[in-house]
Symmetry: C4
Subunit: 213 residues, 4 copies
Amino acid sequence: MTSTDSEVPGMTTHRIEALTDGIFAVAMTLLVLNLKLPQGGVEEVEADLLGLITGQSHVFSNYAMSFLLAAVFWIIHHQQSHVIKRTDRNHLWLNILILMFVSLIPFSTSLINDYHDDWMASIFFGMNMFILGSLFYINWDYATRNHRLVALNLDPRRIAVGKRRSAVTPIVSLLAMALVFVDVSISSFAYLLIPLILFHPIFRYDPSAPEKR
Amino acid sequence: MTSTDSEVPGMTTHRIEALTDGIFAVAMTLLVLNLKLPQGGVEEVEADLLGLITGQSHVFSNYAMSFLLAAVFWIIHHQQSHVIKRTDRNHLWLNILILMFVSLIPFSTSLINDYHDDWMASIFFGMNMFILGSLFYINWDYATRNHRLVALNLDPRRIAVGKRRSAVTPIVSLLAMALVFVDVSISSFAYLLIPLILFHPIFRYDPSAPEKR
Amino acid sequence: MTSTDSEVPGMTTHRIEALTDGIFAVAMTLLVLNLKLPQGGVEEVEADLLGLITGQSHVFSNYAMSFLLAAVFWIIHHQQSHVIKRTDRNHLWLNILILMFVSLIPFSTSLINDYHDDWMASIFFGMNMFILGSLFYINWDYATRNHRLVALNLDPRRIAVGKRRSAVTPIVSLLAMALVFVDVSISSFAYLLIPLILFHPIFRYDPSAPEKR
Amino acid sequence: MTSTDSEVPGMTTHRIEALTDGIFAVAMTLLVLNLKLPQGGVEEVEADLLGLITGQSHVFSNYAMSFLLAAVFWIIHHQQSHVIKRTDRNHLWLNILILMFVSLIPFSTSLINDYHDDWMASIFFGMNMFILGSLFYINWDYATRNHRLVALNLDPRRIAVGKRRSAVTPIVSLLAMALVFVDVSISSFAYLLIPLILFHPIFRYDPSAPEKR
């Protein structure tokens, strides 16, 4: 495949970023539509709002979890697109697939809200995160292999750190899905590992560190 | 009509692109609101979530299809706007019409979700895609005729390839609508042809190819 | 009031435009959520989709009307912001009020959908358009008076044309509201006058025309 | 913690602003979905639309209040980000938390719509505003302490004014929550104080004023 074959005329990484920021913003804000109290809006059920809210506490923690996971993916996206200087047909469609699974997050979240004791709902949510994480891993691998879409002088250690970083979400998602078969209710907590793990120094690129590889 | 007549003061192609990216992002993300399980949210129906999801498999494939078709149109939009350097009243309103039919996609998709055995729903969806595709064809034709809104030195082969490319979606949409009268359930598969066809070299602009026309 | 008093530190017209484009894009796309067939989604009512759609034809024409009116306001916004170079506290809050009534358009449209024979719904819709149009008129008047927020050398004829242009929507909205008391169903057609009127040369700024004022 | 530790590679304040503008635009526009008339859409209830609308007047005033409060936060965000030149891990996550509570505004507003006599709903709304306001205060304090993320020559008076400004919303929110226990229906009016207070000169940075601190 020659470079002409895989080039997408008129498409720049800047364009992809504009659509990406828009879809992330809408998907993250649409999560709020999942926050619904039972019979909310029916005026008669004035009864016990505090009870209704605390009874739906898993809905609020799912909102926070999904919002923060989406934010993690948004950060990964920008860390990747910061060094990806060119685009081609495959990269473009990988990104559109990524956006398709970002858009799906509000639905996956509504499943774990409505069916919170059901292992299937947690598997569906986990698959959404696993596929999304894997697509980011593939995207980084594709863009950096032989410096295909990145600067030729990009530090190989930076490529390695980026790969390690994008492997975290799919691996933790697999773990969360495995935990479903132990106890559905603890499965969600696994996702809390993602920010904790990413804080570890081996997931950080330090240009001043002695070159080892 | 003099150039003053058709000019829209204060309007640049950059402005149109900002609104366009926004509307595409919202329309593509609103597709997720079509994903609804029957009686979803009613706590008692804990029963068989896997069955509910697989029973709604057409809803998920329609989500993917509409998302990818919207992405195809978004790519066509950016390929066109990349070379369209000026705007005028007609071009502006053509673009607003385009955005009106982009916004309509979530509704057309909800129709083929809810009435998936009904030929009328598939025709409605097909008309949405046909009109949208035709508007892009008209937009390209209008902007490039006599190099009206493009650079004077724009390669005529590029104009021809752009015309061919924007003809693909309306033609495939007509085909999909014709298939409705054969079998409603296979009609949707026709849209899969769009990315396949666009991969063919005659839909690609190769500046290094020998000039033939 | 000194210039320090009315300045909003850190706020530029560019910022306001980013929020404006976003809110216009979301409001225009949310109009699609008003498109709902009676009992849509209930699988049993497979019956007569064509009948359902044609029975809701006013909903589709209202969708188109509101989308195009929003587009008219978006164009007016960009024509104004193209020459408005500075911002101040009053201008900023005028713009936020404008955005509040832009956001209201999907609700006003849902009213004329659901209560299409009710004069009150048409008056509500008309008031939304009248207030929005008036705010644009006030915005232009405020920004251009004594060249407050525009370039000192801005052609006074351009200011006059802009004033005339932004007077069209509030005046036509008043007319549409008056027509409600003649016949509710014809009132909506009045809004079609807006694009027609704006096509007339007196609403166009022609820098080469002989200066008369 | 060295600067390498807290840096987020590939993340700029510009990126954060793009997501922020998007989320503010969507959240502010989603407020419109809270505007629903009782049995709205049911054709039979043609009866008394004017009565329905006036009976829901608190819903409309809550829409305006939430929209304007969101606008106040958006203005604060841009005033802060105008002088914040760098970002780091803490600043990034503070901003994501801010966006999470911006996204929550449509839900909090729906609570005070549906449960308008319930003190709990007003407390929930007040907590949303209080947390949001406090996060902005913390964000400003974090960014300006020792000129961590701002220019070294940033006028200390500007830092002080910014601190004072961002303290207004959390303090007024506390007051509004206290008023809930006096009378639920007057609590909302407290938020009207925010724009009034911010008009006072001590909340304005005047570079020409004699330096006092």
